[in-house]
Amino acid sequence: MRALVWHGKEDIRCESVPDPRIEHPRDAIIKVSSCAICGSDLHLYDNVIPAMRPGDIMGHECMGEVVEVGPEAKGSLKVGDRVVIPFTITCGECWQCRRGNWSLCERSNRNGAMQEKVFGRVGAGLFGYTQLTGGYPGGQAEYLRVPFADQTHIKVPSTLSDEQLLFLSDILPTGWQGAVQCDIQPEDTVAIWGAGPVGLMCVISAVMLGAKQVISIDRVPERLALAQANGAITINFDEESVTERIDALTGRKGPEKCIDAVGMEAHATATLDSVYDRVKQAVMLTSDRIHVLREMIYLARPGGILSIPGVYGGLADKFPMGLVMNKGLTIRTGQTHVRRWTDDLLRRIEEGQFDPSFVITHTVPLEQGPEMYATFRDKRDGCVKVVLKP
């Protein structure tokens, strides 16, 4: 089969690889009908998250049709089922899964020992996202082996298009969780850093959850235009001061809720801390550039909540913990517990409350995937979200 394969920094190739096969009775194989490039894939493309191995298959946002089912998964799946695959692999039986902490599944990361050395404790296995999270082949391919398939799937109806459903795999529940864990109240201002696909999902989630005011911060005009079209007040940080504008919008109180949909590769204008992060990252003295986190902590209303769906990979330097403590801020973060949210989100899509496909700007064959990584990373050609068709 063809798949997008990681070979090194900025080196992703569309290659022929062996077809996946059932390796465990709970496995299933799906024929991928659509998959997407996620913003967090770009951290792998840029090689800022360690433990990718040349030959690893990329991708953790995909959907398709079940073509083969292991004997122990047959109770919940059958050949021909149309499914979206959550990016987190879940056993459904461990202590964390039983509590709905699907992204913290204690059994699905087959390289748990490796991850324990880095993070102390093990999170769930993920598709196509380094050896640390299990080294599972990803879904930017013609076929995907789904471990714990009886649990790791979302059945979807045939009445909706791939484009309406695909993002249930990651960015939609990620943006939703980012907003829901803010515990948004009707009088809240929610400020969202980053208007990429996850940031835009945060925007529509915050609007649907009834925030009084939603602010979207980015520098890319076409992304800010999407945020504005979906109910956000926008701030282009290349053109105006984020601090001054947020002060003006909140009567100098600060937003009650702040969401970081940027993560470890924050770009910024020539602020001192951004330059400092860049230099430290360049000489491998830090792994994460945390300008957005610092800005959120500085601007948030005391007593507020910071929600962090953006991906961080390791160590953060000059993190203003004193401000967090003295302002009484609450921080909520984590990989997305996809299955907590998908039933509700699928119902809302079916009812026509919203349609997440508005973020798609490029739909191309899988073979053009390597090119689209560069286009997406460099924000060329108005690129916001890429869907690949194997």
Binding site: E15, A225, G231, H267
Partner: protein, 220 residues
């Protein structure tokens, strides 16, 4: 798009790989780089005017002090042009042309110049020329990106997730059940204190503060 495509080692499958060159200058940084070159230009111009004689001597250009001062004026004008212009591209291209003139002048004086002076000057001009060329290309790319962005932004201005419209959809999901573990625990939830005014959910503030025009509340 220009992906390269070849057969893989066994000849049994297609391999494609990005051929997109990485930006030489980070997005949004070309303007700052141009500004830096503008200040450099002014500094160099002042130096050329103030020290025309020793520069001419070192470069084997005795008798050409007036020419060096003229070059200094050119540098200052170009620098001011870069710093003052909305569109910096023609001024940076002007710097590239000036670099070429500098190189020709240096070569003309080479037979009479000290080796050390000539090599130093040639290296410096070559380095600055490289920066100017990179900056010119980065400004060109950014302008092209900006034009694309403007087109895309216009197209995106009506792309919404909400078939019923944004305002009709605001709060449509207030019926969501927020899981207990991501709710603010009730004992920690801000509570309006008796006698201190109330803005619901504890976002109130003392009445006297709320009435203070200098402390107008956004949430009260």
């Amino acid at each position: 798009m220009s992906a390269t495509a070849t057969r893989d080692r066994k000849g049994n499958g297609m391999r494609s790989r990005s051929a997109h060159p990485r930006r030489l200058v980070a997005r949004g940084s070309a303007g700052r780089m141009a500004g830096g070159l503008g200040w450099f230009s002014i500094g160099l111009g002042v130096a050329e005017i103030a020290a025309a004689r020793p520069i001419a001597r070192a470069l084997g250009l005795r008798g050409a002090e007036a020419l060096i001062r003229a070059y200094g004026v050119r540098e200052i004008v170009t620098g001011l042009g870069i710093l003052g212009a909305t569109d910096r591209r023609p001024w940076i291209r002007g710097r590239v042309a000036g670099d070429a003139l500098d190189l020709v002048t240096l070569l003309a004086g080479a037979p009479r110049a000290s080796v050390a002076g000539f090599v130093t000057a040639l290296g410096s001009v070559a380095t600055v020329t490289l920066f100017d060329l990179v900056c010119a290309e980065a400004l060109r790319t950014e302008e092209s990106d900006r034009a694309g962005s403007r087109r895309a932004a216009r197209a995106n201005a009506s792309r919404t997730a909400f078939p019923r419209g944004v305002e009709a959809s605001r709060g449509i999901a207030r019926d969501v059940t927020v899981p207990q573990d991501v709710r603010i625990p009730d004992p920690l939830r801000p509570q309006a204190q008796p006698g201190l005014g109330d803005a619901g959910q504890g976002h109130g503030e003392p009445r006297e503060a709320a009435n203070d025009p200098l402390r107008s509340s956004h949430s009260a």
